[in-house]
Symmetry: C2
Subunit: 208 residues, 2 copies
DNA sequence: ATAGTCAGTGAACAGTCGTACTCTCAATTG
DNA sequence: CAATTGAGAGTACGACTGTTCACTGACTAT
């Protein structure tokens, strides 16, 4: 075996990441379908043709950005939901978690919110698939709770989807809210969640 | 006074509408920020320069499309909510109303969902403003109901916003769902609304 | 040491784009 | 009637786009 550092591979990954970073920055003020291939390479300081060494086109770059953004979030929500403690407490913690992540990586969430219904098919589908995965994870976490006794699995998935959609809406609202307006968004998001939780508590009151 | 038919004005409005229609059709598979001015005029069969007689640019055209799409919906929701009848019944009717409108004018709703978080600032703001108006209308309609006795106005606005956001999500889901999958979307949307309604019924159970 | 691999270069291609001009000629006005 | 208006046509401009091709030269495997 050799002590090869793999300089080649490392450098390639480095420029690839540079392309992703530059694209994400450019996408803060426009959508993917209007993002030019040359625009990205220019921002990195690389010849336009070098782009093809990493991606087939801007659409493929978009899909990679989806993975980068949402791939790292898996399990995190489940971890929060699995925490012990008061229901109200967990709820607040979940909202806070979102707020912190959005504040830490605004561009990533902006991108997701923007391209969730955007004009580039493959990217849209990638986001939809990831969000559905999240909904299933949340549903699985909910199923483990005693409050979910007697619930139809399909209804749990419905609830999970409701939470996920709300998460996306909240993230987007946080981005749209200027600095200082975030507190109000968080307050409303918490009340919304409380209302949903109330509905959940009385879901089985009626006859199915 | 004259019996002028105003042929000039009529023709202008006609081509203006043709531009809007053509743009809406083109926007089904791309987003506004990538829509070319020439692309639209080509679809209409008009010289590119003629575009400026009607809009400052594609952004202004987008704002006009927002007005056209959401302007006609005002009051409709209020009318549904004002209907007498069982709460469950009204709920189903509301979902059905959305489903019918989305099926009747898919392109309009696709446009709204796509540009709500899109890359064109003025359009995004126009949509946000209209949706907030809807939320306020819904809140006002809810306030008139006996179930809302004792509710904080801010909480009613929260609930109205929840309904509106849910409406947008449902519309988008209907568009993404292929033909035949719509029934499932409607079913889930109804269950979501029922859960929210349940939460609403028990909102005042706890101490504020 | 040598041959091969491959990330990145640079020039050139045919298009498309937005916008500024001038011009036309039918509808309107007085 | 004649004078004016204004929606749309036509041309031209420079700038930008995605993609192709042959190429260099540092790294890699043998």
């Amino acid at each position: 075996m050799s002590h090869t550092t793999g300089i080649r591979q490392v450098q390639k990954q480095k420029t690839r990441q540079a392309l992703l970073d530059a694209a994400l920055r450019l996408l803060e003020h426009q959508s993917l379908s209007s993002l030019g291939l040359r625009e990205v390479t220019r921002a990195v300081g690389v010849a336009p043709t070098a782009f093809y060494r990493h991606f087939d086109g801007t659409a493929a770059l978009g899909v990679a950005l989806v993975e980068e953004t949402l791939g790292s979030l898996h399990g995190m929500i489940g971890a929060v939901l699995a925490e012990t403690g008061d229901s109200e407490e967990r709820l607040d913690r979940g909202v806070e978690l979102i707020a912190r992540h959005v504040a830490a990586q605004p561009a990533h969430f902006r991108f997701i919110a923007r391209e969730q219904h955007g004009g580039v098919g493959p990217v849209r589908e990638a986001i939809t698939a990831q969000l559905r995965l999240f909904a299933e994870e949340v549903a699985a976490a909910l199923a483990a709770e005693p409050d979910s006794a007697g619930w139809d699995p399909a209804d749990l998935l419905m609830l999970g989807g409701l939470y996920v959609d709300h998460m996306v809406i909240t993230a987007s609202a946080l981005l749209d809210a200027g600095p200082g307006g975030e507190e109000e968004v968080v307050r409303v998001a918490r009340r919304r969640l409380r209302l949903v939780t109330l509905g959940r508590a009385h879901w089985l009151d009626e006859a199915p």
